[in-house]
Amino acid sequence: MKPDPDDYLPLAPATLHILLSLAGEPMHGYGIMQEVQCQSNGRYNLGPGTLYDNLQRLMKQRMVEEVAGPRDEEKSRRRYYRLSALGRGVLSQEIARLEDVVQEGRARLRSLKPRRA
């Protein structure tokens, strides 16, 4: 049976950042950590232990898969990872869910604002 992306929601912050980093081209572990730092403007620092623990779990859930590195880095010993179709689906659903949360949050905050007479 095909897994339903909704079953994996909501995502933990580390998982969300990792999936977001892999939404573009395949990356190695260190690249993912740099990308996460860049995405969050340096506010979220992912350590290798947390990263590889998440990657291990995401690969088991088939959201991420290991791929060959770029041709010019053939000699590199680093492992490269990319999003699978399931991972892409889960990420899209999570983004949609977060959009709803943001809309709802904005609406509620607007109603709290004091209005001019």
């Binding site: 350590g47 290798p48 291990q56 010993r77």
Partner: protein, 287 residues
Amino acid sequence: MLRWLYIQLIWLHPAPFRWRFGDDMLDDFDRVPNRAKLRYLADAVRSLARQWLLRPEFRHPEAPAGTLAAAGVPLFQTIETYRPCPAALLQGGLLAILSILLAVLLIAKGGGVARPFFIGTHFSRPSLLPIDRSSVAASDLDTTVKLGPDPFEAWLKLARPYFASLPVLRVLDADRDLTLSPWEIGNAPLALRKLDANHDGKLTSDECGLHIDPNSVPPDWLEPLRWRFMSGHPVLAALDSDHDGEISAGEIEHAAAALKRLDRNHDGYLTADELIPFEMAVRAGLR
């Protein structure tokens, strides 16, 4: 010193995690600036706790305490009658690690006097190209640059006895060149079946090269020892994909695909640096 500590922390991770991600973790640690290294150490401690406490699939199967006690082997003895609470043990362990980290940091700082930073490296590595500096002064047409030995030679030196000691690698490496070629990987199911001494279709740890005299250890220790052997060698851990301590008929059938997972640089070949256990490479100074 911090690097050494980080290696020890990687070492303490469950074997399947260590052989899959250990090299990358160490590589990341080497790349990061010095100011972030302590954060990486703390992250490794957290990862260690997470792997052993929250990832049951990598936990070591414990021998039943009752039978071990019956064999006269005390597992854990307290003077008081109460049993320590697991949370207290965990907190104590973390506190001990933090204390050690603090002590290491103070020692590294040399009692408050910061050590100067030197250009270059304190440790020689096979990737560095040694240059004969005496040739730089007399830079004429006869200048000679002496190259060091092939960095991979050190891996091969380590691989020779390792391949010889592990029957699985011996049968897989048909041409004895200490590298598993795409053909040898594809031929793995046939090669592995040669090790099946009792023709039951699967390979036990004994058939994979573990030699234990059953009379020398308590019977309940045999299973954990077998599991540790099968998970400690990357090639065996990859072949035993369900980590049950033996290579089943199905796992032999899919041996080629399992071995390909060890091919870190995806060049189709499994070389010594991809097959030798992380801890063995660290001990030999190759990591």
